[in-house]
């Protein structure tokens, strides 16, 4: 009796389990659906650039253009002479100044806005000072050469390549650069003319002229030199105001009968020298007798 009851209950459980497994469930229900995709059209971002216009030897109109506004300033300058990049040491003591033009005219009376001071072994010099500018502005470049540069590079043409960096107001990652190149001629180097010889037997008088060429320092003394066996020998040292001197046979060795080169050397405050071209004189000396002639 108990066994039959158990069998019936098990059979009932199996059937009910089958019913539960086989009955329709919600996961099998199909539902309608639809969708619509709306795509954003391809977009593109703009940009900014730095413009350099109307460049002359002394000025250029700089500004930014593009899809948004921005500010700019000169960042660095490189100086070349005859295609060779000059180092800071070669330009030591010099300055590259930048001013804003007033009414399109560059005037030295305007305040210096930016400046670069070359030094050391670098060949690119940071432009410092001032604030970033906006809009198109005409910037003027002035090279203020040191005495050293006037002496070493006087009369040569120098090219100043200034990189101008711009950044968008809306994003610091939107940057642009351009280069403004200005070429300027340096004033002639300081010079001493070759001494001119005038005869006043038994001596000669040497005269010369001095062109300071805008140097800060001046001559501290004149050294009149004659050609010697082992180079040049100073035969006279004169104060800086003098522009002439007499030369006699006593200024030469006791036995000399030959043409001799003479020259004048300007000795500057910092010890730098500026040497004239040579002039030939004839020296005839026999111990206490002798004369000097213009050759």
């Amino acid at each position: 009796m108990t066994t039959r009851l158990t069998a019936c209950l098990l059979a009932l459980a199996v059937v009910l389990g089958g019913v539960l497994l086989l009955r329709p469930s919600e996961s099998t229900l199909a539902a309608w659906s639809d969708e619509a995709t709306v795509t954003v059209p391809q977009l593109r971002t703009g940009g900014v650039r730095v413009d350099v216009a109307g460049a002359t030897a002394a000025s250029a109109t700089l500004g930014m253009s593009g899809d948004t506004s921005g500010t700019w300033r000169p960042g660095a300058v490189t100086v070349t002479s005859a295609g060779r990049v000059l180092t800071g040491a070669e330009l030591a003591g010099s300055r590259v100044d930048y001013r804003l033009a007033r009414n399109g005219v560059c005037a030295a009376t305007e305040p210096v806005l930016y400046s670069a001071t070359p030094s050391g072994t670098a060949s690119s010099f940071a432009v410092t000072g001032g604030e970033r500018l906006s809009g198109a502005r005409t910037l003027c470049l002035t090279f203020v050469p040191s005495d050293h540069v006037r002496l070493q590079l006087g009369g040569r043409s120098l090219s100043f390549a200034t990189t101008v960096g711009g950044v968008a107001t809306a994003s610091s990652t939107w940057t642009a650069t351009n280069t403004w190149t200005a070429t300027q001629q340096l004033p002639a180097a300081p010079s001493v003319t070759a001494p001119q010889c005038s005869s006043s037997w038994p001596r000669v008088t040497l005269r010369w002229e001095w062109d300071r060429a805008g140097m800060v320092q001046d001559v501290t003394r004149w050294s009149v030199q004659a050609e010697a066996e082992s180079g040049w020998r100073e035969i006279n040292s004169l104060n800086p105001s003098q522009r002439s001197t007499g030369v006699s046979s006593r200024d030469f060795p006791p036995f000399q009968f030959e043409n001799t080169q003479v020259r004048v050397v300007a000795v500057l405050a910092d010890g730098t020298t500026v040497t004239s071209a040579t002039t030939t004189v004839r020296v005839e000396r026999l111990v206490v007798l002798g004369a000097v002639y213009c050759a």
């Binding site: 209950l9 009955r23 919600e26």
Partner: protein, 168 residues
Amino acid sequence: MPNRLTRAALAAVLAAVLLSGSGTTLAGWNDAELREGQVVSAGDLTVEPVSTSTVVVRPGTSQPLPASTPLVPGDVVRLTSRVRVSAAGELLTGTLGLEVTGLQGLTRSTPRVTTTLAAVGTRGWTVTPANDGASATAVVDLTVPATVAQRTTLDAGAIRWTLTQEMP
């Protein structure tokens, strides 16, 4: 002769089988009659775009700019999408949804949806045959961040409208 308990169990099994819905296996009799074709109308549940516009709203400018305008940081790309739903059928209920996770690259705002449909949950709207022909308009603002690169193309992605039938 089975006893009473056994008969009760058999009756329960038979009842369960009959009630399980698997009657197809129990139908022994059948009949067929050819009738002339009848028009059977299925229901309808669709969503379709009506209009889409993309403009650039630039701070400081009074008029929207075309989408082809080169973008700058701070610009807002405004996507406006209008869809119409169709719902026909007895006891038909659906839910209109809007997914914006497909938008990328730009800073996305919370979509603003204008519709006469009744809202359900977040970004869901109930659609019934009474709403057949109703429309919904979504506006999504995408702001150009300051970190975006200049002179580059942007694929801002897409939004997706979904309309799904709810089972009764």
